[in-house]
Amino acid sequence: MTEHAVPLPPGWDEAVRLDEDPATIPDPASVEVPPELRAEIEGHMAKYPDRHSAVLPALAAAQRVHGWCSPEAIHQVAAVMQVTPAYLSSVATFYDMLRTQPTGSRYLYVCTSVACHLRNAKAVYEAIEAQASEQGLDDWEVREFECLGACDMAPMASIDGRYVGPLDEGEAGELVSALKEGRQPFPGRGLPDPGFRLPWQDGGTAPDRPGPPEEPDVHPAGGTWEDAEVLDVPPVRRPLQKPPPPPVPLSPGTSVAGESVDPATRDREAEREEEEERP
């Protein structure tokens, strides 16, 4: 934790320095930027009518150089693009592929979204995660990810952009040790591999995932669900229906077209009627 002139209020993280002025656009002459990175960002900026459009490719490029969107990386992009670092961090924190923590410079995304979930993806992810921490897979960001758009290969993972699948929980150890040794895991089973075929494209079928554990037919001592309804439970209000749209456009100065009663009064009346109806 850095020392601050004024102690930070609780709940703020280190990144917020309330005792300092906000960072301004860095002076391009005083910031050292790797020449390739500068060239790449400037190349991106030239492609768009508005240079701000290059923010995403520029941050991705800086991340490739620095391993993550570190304050230094953001500062360098800000210097080249002439925007504030705060603007860049606001963008970087929005997107899942931009890392705002130093979690590793390469990525292993395991898809656990709906279609993969139906094919045992959770167990695959947990196995991979367990193996990764057991074998000490440093410099790799291992995480669950949103649908990666390869549900035909489910359950699958993206290894630095190389889609591999279908995976089995038993293969987690092999996958992680291949990554650790710098080998390509499962050659021939990645989407870009030449001659890639899914097992069932040649007459086979998809591997079946283990079914859910057998649930006993439960009859608890406290009664069944139907009994629960007679418990003293406050009634639930139905979702409010939207009012129908007014038949004619509103004229200026009125709230509801063709309405003689003040809508507020009418609502209160309706409520009173409801109250009276209740026992």
Partner: protein, 427 residues
């Protein structure tokens, strides 16, 4: 029943991603025809006549959308939505990987119809392989003079840039995509103004899905009348359907719209594993309300799916078999949307969070009889109350699961509670 391959006709041809093979198979003929033999108005007319509907989810008429772009000299843009993130959808991945030039040609034809001179393909960052293939295809097209200034001496100028996203589901929403393309956080915008009037950089913008644009060269080549012969009613043409989940042969199948759903799930995708039955299915990606096995004989069209209370969406069928417990599935779904909510509108930001919390309670046996009612109420309060449909995309399937399978939710809650009580008693 077999597939009707129009878009995927040559998909297995080796080297189709190179311009040489693509042109040998008749590629870029439609572009020449549209540029040299037809006027922009003719191209637009042909697209409108074809009845082609957007393949990204909303199913809006592509030609009509293009006709909304104002005429006159101004900077107009074409955006191709290649941010295919809807769970269950993987058709664009196949098209871009195997046949990138079809998309490039489609973008050129789209730009003629819209009068756009600058175009962007917004591809999700996870599709690194496909983005690299597209980059190479665009470079080849520039080399041949099919992109750039005065294409083939016709006076039509069109620049095309492949723009990579960085992982955000919401950027598949058209206005969020525009914000992301402008280098901002991908927050949806208030509509109107619609992108056709004020889109990218405040200029008129035509936004179309990959598959929609890939259909345009085929329509121009064979004519709208030929194209309309495929399909049923107002759902014309063929559709690439991604079938996934608990089926024996998941994959992409190109079929005529109007094919019975049963044919897709059982005939083409092999049906659920032996001994199991379909419990329910999402007919249009995970955002579509689920349908049950009573709906299996409906024709797969935009209209029939809407009538059954769901939608055709992006054309992705996710099959859930009868051994699958629904509560963890609903929870997984809700967690996904909670993570992907951009946080701009309160009903979605809070509603997805509360839905996850309540489903967790149900799943862990902490649920009370009220929870399912409140869960239903929360979904009702999300639908239609946000700038975009991300919140609805969670609320509709969760509400539909509750509607069709309420008993299972109640049973699951009861069993989980018993299990928890037993565990506590043992401890």
């Amino acid at each position: 029943m077999t597939e009707t391959r129009v878009l995927l006709a040559n998909i297995d041809e080796p080297g189709l991603n190179t311009i040489a093979v693509y042109e040998r198979l008749g590629g870029y003929r439609s572009m020449r025809k549209a540029l040299l033999e037809m006027s922009a108005a003719d191209v637009l007319h042909e697209l409108e006549e074809s009845g082609l509907r957007g393949r990204g989810g909303a199913g809006f008429s592509m030609g009509k959308k293009a006709s909304f772009i104002p005429k006159g000299a101004m900077d107009k843009y074409l955006c191709c939505n290649a941010d295919e993130s809807e769970p269950g959808t993987f058709k664009d991945r196949l098209l871009m990987q195997k046949n990138p030039h079809l998309l490039v040609e489609g973008c050129i034809i789209g730009s003629i119809a819209a009068g756009a001179n600058k175009g962007f393909i917004f591809i999700r960052g996870e599709y690194e392989l496909q983005a690299n293939i597209l980059d190479a295809a665009v470079a080849e097209a520039y080399d041949k003079g099919y992109l750039g200034e005065g294409i083939l001496g016709s006076g039509h100028t069109f620049e095309l840039v492949v723009h990579r996203g960085q992982g955000a589901y919401i950027c598949g929403e058209e206005t969020a995509l525009l914000d992301a393309l402008e280098g901002k956080r991908g927050n949806p915008r208030l509509k109107p103004p619609f992108p056709a009037n004020q889109g990218l950089y405040q200029g008129p913008t035509l936004i179309n899905n990959v598959e929609t644009l890939c259909n345009t060269p085929i329509i121009i080549e064979h004519g709208a009348d030929w194209y309309r012969k495929f399909g049923e009613g107002n759902s014309t043409g063929t559709k690439i359907v991604s079938v996934s989940g608990n089926v024996q042969r998941p994959g992409n199948f190109e079929v005529e719209l109007g094919i019975p759903v049963r044919e897709l799930i059982y005939g083409l995708a092999g049906g659920p594993p032996a001994g199991r039955d379909v419990k329910c299915f999402f007919p249009g990606g995970s955002s579509a309300p689920v349908l049950t096995k009573e709906h299996l004989d409906l024709p797969y069209t935009f209209e029939a799916m809407a009538e059954a209370g769901s939608m055709l969406g992006s054309g992705a069928i996710i099959v859930v078999d009868d051994s699958e417990p629904l509560v963890p599935l609903a929870l997984r779904l809700a967690e996904f949307y909670r993570h992907e909510s951009c946080g701009k509108c309160v009903p979605c930001r809070e509603g997805t969070n509360w839905t996850v919390k309540m489903l967790e309670r149900v799943d862990e046996g902490e649920g009370t009889p009220m929870d399912l009612d409140i869960l239903e109420q929360v979904q009702g309060n999300i639908i239609g109350n946000c700038l975009c449909v991300l919140g609805d995309s969670m609320a509709m399937p969760v509400a539909s699961m509750l509607k069709h399978f309420r008993e299972e939710f109640e049973q699951h809650m009861e069993q989980a509670r018993t299990k928890r009580d037993l565990a506590e008693a043992v401890a």
